[in-house]
Amino acid sequence: MKVFTFERAQTAESALAASKKSGAKFIAGGTNLLDLMKLEIETPGHLIDINGLGLDKIEALPDGGLRIGALVRNTALAADERVRRDYGVLSRALLAGASSQLRNKATTAGNLLQRTRCPYFYDTNQPCNKRQPGSGCSAIEGFSRQHAVIGASNACIATHPSDMAVAMRVLDAQVETLRADASTRTIPIADLHRLPGDTPHVEHILEPGELITAVTLPKPVAGTHIYRKVRDRASYAFALISVAAIIQPNGGGRVALGGVAHKPWRVEAAEAQLTSGADAFTKLLLANANPTHDNAFKLPLVQRTLAAVLADARKG
């Protein structure tokens, strides 16, 4: 691990001021950042511990929604009574991710900003445009079973590893931030993460020093909440594909996918076709998919998993 200086921020103002230092980075749970620092894939010169900022509350909003503080741990969010009752898809997605030890540490904002688990991103002996821009993508001609099938580019076929973000996408969550100049903004979760294009190392639209303070959920959406994750082992593994869905009694509803793209994948314009069944809907949802030899299986897997989700929803 590279040498770094360390400070504990007690207020958002001091955290923002510290973020102007060279090589500064915020740290909260640290479960992903420290892992990457050990491999010297992340090499911050200054770490700002933001755990003292008090952003660890889940509050009811006047419009019936929920504001989730950036530092709320994944376990606390999954176990919150309101989330379990009204946002079941979110609770289920969180519980499908990582292990209890990691969920006890991992935060809401950190989960959104975690980096890909592409093995070539982790292997510093191999080219990777995300880790070293311009060096090439080892995954495209390499072992790509886990990788993206849609929205990828010739520069990068990595996926976003989060389960939580997929559920938040289907819930139309909004991300609240504080910028380095102390102004605030609200970002629809659909716009937070970028597709790789020619700059796969730029993974989200946050500016340097911009701090996520909360994620808000609109008032609960009625329907059957389902998160179905398909993976190589039954627990403690990243998704091959996952389906977050809120299904209405008529078979319509909302669907987002995990494990298929550089961000949670949802096509609202196609959702009117959900009542036509999994086959027709998947064709629209994954139109222009461009899988590799290794991961072409993800296309039928999405269609079949979605069919299973719709069948589960019919059963109630």
């Binding site: 360390f6 491999l39 511990d49 609770s91």
Partner: protein, 214 residues
């Protein structure tokens, strides 16, 4: 012909995976070597730190890069907590911090200022075993024993988490109180890997402590 080419692709795929994981394992030592030989060594940053471990207050001067795991093992010589993968994948380093189990390899020591930490050494002693330690012995819940301190810390936390009503991936009804079942224990213990494969006896040991039969 088809069979042959399929076989070739499969073998190459396997070799590629093998290469990726082998080099990933080699990375830490390679980069350490580079730092010491070809780059000027930056002076470490030392930070003061106090926390409570098993009821005893400790004040330390640590390199900011020190993980909680290394602080416990190398500074306090509490070597019961084990280093397995050092990347949050195996659970051997599991300790309980402020009532919650975490991977101590993925937490900086300096981020635990003021924390109350319980390690395997604090759960019981040779003459007064914690019920979970006794149950692991009774049910033969280990072979080599390397993952065992992490398994036991995790197991103690599992029963506490169920009591608190925290649901898991296999909890059928999210709004109901979760029960101690073999399925729940298996899911909740999935962050602790046992290379010897003592899993079924570990489930028996935890079930025993929970006061139910498997």
């Amino acid at each position: 012909m088809n069979d042959l080419s399929d076989l070739r692709i499969t073998r190459r795929g396997v070799l590629k995976v093998g290469a990726v994981s082998a080099t990933a394992l080699a990375v830490p030592s390679v980069t350490t070597a580079q730092v010491s030989s070809s780059q000027p060594v930056q002076a470490p940053v030392i930070s003061k730190l106090s926390f409570e471990v098993n009821g005893t207050l400790h004040s330390l001067d640590v390199d900011t890069r020190t993980t909680l795991l290394d602080a416990l093992r190398e500074h306090l010589h509490l070597t019961g907590t084990k280093k397995g993968c050092d990347h949050g994948q195996c659970g051997a380093c599991t300790v309980i911090v402020d009532g919650q189990r975490i991977n101590s390899c993925l937490s900086l020591a300096v981020m635990n200022e003021g924390a109350k930490i319980s390690t395997i050494e604090g759960l019981g002693s040779k003459n007064a075993l914690h019920p979970m330690q006794a149950a692991f012995i009774k049910h033969d819940g280990f072979q080599c024993g390397y993952c065992t301190p992490g398994q036991i810390c995790s197991a103690v936390a599992v029963l506490d988490e169920i009591k608190q009503g925290i649901p898991s991936h296999v909890t059928a009804d999210l709004t109901a109180q979760p029960q101690v079942t073999a399925e729940e224990i298996r899911e909740r213990m999935s962050g602790n890997i046992c290379r010897c494969g003592a899993y079924s006896n570990i489930v028996d040991a935890i079930t025993d402590v929970a006061g139910r039969t498997a």
